[in-house]
Amino acid sequence: MKVSGTPLTGPLADKFPKIAAVVGVLGLVASLVYYTQDHHRFFYSYLTVFVFFLSIVLGGMFFVIIQHLSRAGWSVLVRRLSEHLMKNAGLMAILFIPVLFGLHDLYHWTHASEVLKDHLLQVKAPYLNIPFFLVRVVVFFGVWIWLARKFFNLSVTQDSSGDASLTLKLQKASTYGILLFALSLTFSMVDWVMSITPHWYSTMFGVYFFAGSAIAGVASISLLALILRRAGFLRDVIRHDHYHDLGKLLYGFIIFWTYVAFSQYFLIWYANIPEGTSWYGMHFLGSWNTVAHVLVLGHFVLPFVGFMSKHMRRNLKVQFVVVVWMLVMHFLDLYWVIMPNIDKSGFQLSWGDFACFLGIGGLFVSVLFARMRTVSLVPTQDPRLPESLHHHT
């Protein structure tokens, strides 16, 4: 069996990125209008959407690195898709700029007057201060862009050169790559999300976000492959066996997310110390409690039971529904983590949330599909490609 190394063509490559870009720009303009109306809430809304799309990028990056680290053969056919997701790290760096203007709205540790009144904030000041925060922002995006470039470029170079030693090079990079990834992901979420409530801390928080990212990453890879399949690309190459394995991976991370989410809650519930429980007190208030229950059901119980059977995983219609559902649930999860800080009385969607979503999402999708027309959809010269082509589950 042979795979043609063609990039994305047709309306998905030409028209779609343009439409998405227009939607994105209009969305950003709309969110700018929202900013003028309620700038305080705008930043929370924007941060939620930003973190959602960042988690897709990081989920894709995790997938790429872990495949090299484990010398996986089955995944070669879908690896380029995750490389594309990961390569959006540069775009996310640009989209982070608005957050920098909202530091005073988002993080009350940035107010010198607050810190003066607050012993805990004074103790944490050597870490939680604006200059060091900005340095870390640069480091996080530096690491992500560097990793994304390295893994993307070497893989694409192999398409033309056919040099098998690049695979070994990537394998080597994946060793320190996974360490840098884990540390940068954890600390970025401590900085950007956990420090909204600087008195509260959870050592599980980075892992919690990682679990969500892994779900978002695998779900996005599957969704992307299904969209391409619908448009007639890679129909005979990415087969039910590959979707079956993506489904298994997704399923595993759904359970992992539950495990981590429960552990975080359980320890804080058990210890019952105000520093810990205050956070859950805020997130279980009013209709946020309903959202938490929806997450238990929709993020865990439903997919756990419904996606257990291999017949479900191998059914592409079911898989499509499940991956879209999981992305929605992942967004709701982040919404539940971030938004109670501003919507204290309960869950209340605003048109500004949609504006931010269309703004960041439009640009994200536009850049993603525009890039897909530049390089082959499959790493055609990967030495493990035959293994992936003949993969049976």
Partner: protein, 177 residues
Amino acid sequence: MANEIYGLVAEFDTPGSLLRAAEGLRDFGYKKFETYSPFPIHGMDAAMGLKDSILGWIVFVFGATGLTCGFLLQTWVSVYAYKITVSGKPLFSFQAFVPVCFEVMILFSGLAAVFGMFTLNSLPELYHAMFNHPRFAIASSHGFFVSVEAEDGLYSEVETWQLLEKLGGKHIATVEA
């Protein structure tokens, strides 16, 4: 009972020819036949026309039972039998039950998987007629075998023999029960 026949056995050279032989027997309508190879062959389940194992359902039922038992046990102990308040929490603190529920579910599922597998494979099996076949020892190193049981409705020593020959079987022989 030296005359009773277990069935016919045929030998094949490669995993591929064994797979095709299994498909041939399946398409002909045979049900009680078995294949033997030194290693698992991808696609053999489908080639032999085997249905999905029911082991998954057994594990599911036992897992759900374990979950329920673990939950009921702790609820009974903490809420009715031995009412002890721990760190000021309500007697019915389901959060605290979760780890044990999880563990009991795992325990029941694990045991069900192991012993269910043993039962479905009718293990331990201390005697099997195939070992009466003098060449069968090479099935653990480089031999690929098919056996068709005499109990199969379609079995006839002549016709089955001819079919096995047609499918490319070598060293065809009867095996005593």
